[in-house]
Symmetry: none
Subunit: 221 residues, 4 copies
């Protein structure tokens, strides 16, 4: 039995090491893309940043392209997990509260930070030449939109006559959030998360003025 435990521990130690290395490679690659761009994110740079051997990339990901794809997937998964946690945390609240929470998640430093956003843009830049990236960088278009639409439908008490309004609000707010990300990417120093949050809420509210109450006063710096 001791032997079994030992064997297990051995296995786990190896597996743990492998997993840790995989993560280190993903992180080092992200960092390299952030610092040097996809063009400059060479195996040499990743090796340098990670402190791991050159050969380990092929060992874990077979090819550099595979590694890049894994980074894209990792980014998308992290993003999805982030807003879904917020949805779960606020799922018993009022639509307005849930909306507030969802927008906050989308603007939170956990996902909206300089490194992440640089990587989003890098992969998005190549959706035409690398169609395999599209699925990962398009995530806001599928489940996120559904969640947002659900909130807006809740605001109008699922009134089918106003469903088109809910859809327009969804599209508009999604675009607005995308624009906020772009703004952050290009001017991270001047970006104000709270102001962005208020602007998003303001726009959302403007679609359904009667369903938001009490209307807080517009607070502008």
């Amino acid at each position: 039995m001791d032997e079994l435990v030992d064997a297990d521990e051995v296995l786990n130690a190896r597996d743990r090491g492998k997993k840790r290395h995989r993560r280190q490679l993903l992180d080092a690659t992200s960092e390299a893309i952030y610092l040097y761009g996809v063009r400059g994110a060479t195996i040499d740079k990743i090796h340098e940043i990670s402190g791991l051997s050159r050969g380990m990339i092929s060992l874990h990901f077979q090819s550099k392209e595979n590694l890049l794809k894994a980074v894209a997937k990792d980014l998308a998964d992290e993003y999805t997990q982030n807003w879904q946690e917020s949805v779960i945390a606020s799922h018993e609240g009022e639509p307005v509260e849930r909306l507030n929470s969802l927008i906050a998640a989308d603007l939170s430093p956990a996902v909206l930070n300089e490194r992440n956003i640089a990587i989003w843009f890098s992969f998005r830049a190549e959706v035409n030449s690398h169609p395999e990236y599209r699925h990962y960088v398009n995530s806001r278009d599928s489940e996120f939109r559904v969640a947002l639409l659900g909130i807006f439908r809740g605001l109008i008490s699922d009134d089918p006559d106003r469903d088109a309004e809910a859809k327009l609000a969804t599209n508009t707010l999604t675009a607005l959030l995308e624009g906020m990300w772009t703004d952050f990417h290009l001017n991270p120093k001047n970006f104000d998360r709270d102001e962005a949050q208020r602007a998003c809420l303001y726009v959302a509210r403007s679609f359904f003025p009667d369903n938001f109450e009490p209307q807080p006063p517009l607070d502008i710096q």
Copy 2:
């Protein structure tokens, strides 16, 4: 005198040839970035697309990096020229009309097309690693914002008490337009320019409900 004229003509022909080559290289590079991404836009590909010799890039731009920078500048110039023409054309109209015209310019196929947008994203992806690109891809932040702010200030008759509102509207609409571009980039087939235009106007109007009149009914498909 004949000789002088001849020399001139020769010179002009040469200059014209030179300019044409320069343009061909810029266009071929744009096409290469669109088709293969910045990583895949090699001198070989540009040579292949342009039909010009390999050596010509060095001849006209000294280095490939210079060529890329020239492409970025060309893109930015084209963008700026496009919206400024719209501003000039509508400068005697009402603020609402000018706003309409400015948004339409920003969403027009002249600037918002698959190739251009792919290049925008490509350069934006590298603003951290190539700071020299930032200036070109950031153009909406400077003059364009000023123009937009001017329109909103016109809407509120330059009431200084409401200047903060004008600024918020400017930031919000800029972000929204950026988001529209992103949406177009990721889903060009499903993108509806008219719907985007209406959504932008709707949001602008929501900031100054009393200044837009008569308020057209919200037309949603």
Copy 3:
């Protein structure tokens, strides 16, 4: 005593396992050379074909070069054993019968098969760059020649005046057999072992027309 027996059994089992692994590696390497050429016979491929772990090659052969040398030796040993068994089996027969038997051994599928022959050629290709292979792939030149010469000398009743003829016949028949192997290697599908055997006998007979009797009619398809 039980313990001793146990220890012995364990040891034997280990030894048997070791030997089996060694053989598996030799066979897998041969197969890899046959399928992928020496260049393509990587440790990875050998590992894949054998089902044994990567590290086992170092364990049993210290290095891949050693493994290759062991394959060469194994091939040579197998070849030698094959014709020597035939010599033993026919050693009481007439020279003609012994010759027939020796040629048949050289053309038998036990040694003349696609995989073996591919490996012979692979090692022979490298006798200049890897002199250590020469000894193994040259085997026909030593003992085999002696055996053949012995048969021819028997045919001429060891008449010293005709020894030069026996030597020429030996050289010629050896070359002819080599040529048959080459023919088989390059066109295994069209190769006819019986025809090859008859051609070899025909040539041998032509050296000593009076010593072969009764002369069978030339049977050609």
Copy 4:
């Protein structure tokens, strides 16, 4: 007109240089295969032997595999040209003379030399894993056989009743020549071209004893 001539000369100078470089690469690769085996014939070694730049291989042959194929083709072409020249030179002679000439060509240092033969074996070693080589190293099987058969048919005055004999003689002599090459490859120092030539003629003669006249005495050292 001077300019045209100049342009031509420029073009020719370039083309000549290109062709010379191509040849240098083929030769250096052959030398590398001879010295280090196909496995050891790395781009580095070829670069070292040729004195040309590393990049030139890709420039002229796109890939190393292509270069190897070109070496195989070059070898085959050289071989074919060699025996065909002999056929042309002796085409008005008697069959026996033509046979003598053809065998001599096959054993001449122009084709049967250590470097060439090492390369033949190298490519033949890989016919299973690299089927594209087969065509080049198989040349003796097509046109050469036809030429040999033609000579034997001449010997028997195209007597259709003896055509099978002519075919057997062709196959046997081809195999014998292959065997001579193998013998030369494995023991170049002990190889005697004249003896090989005599052995081949002797075997050929043994097929058609009545058609060779006068029969020279068997001259053995």
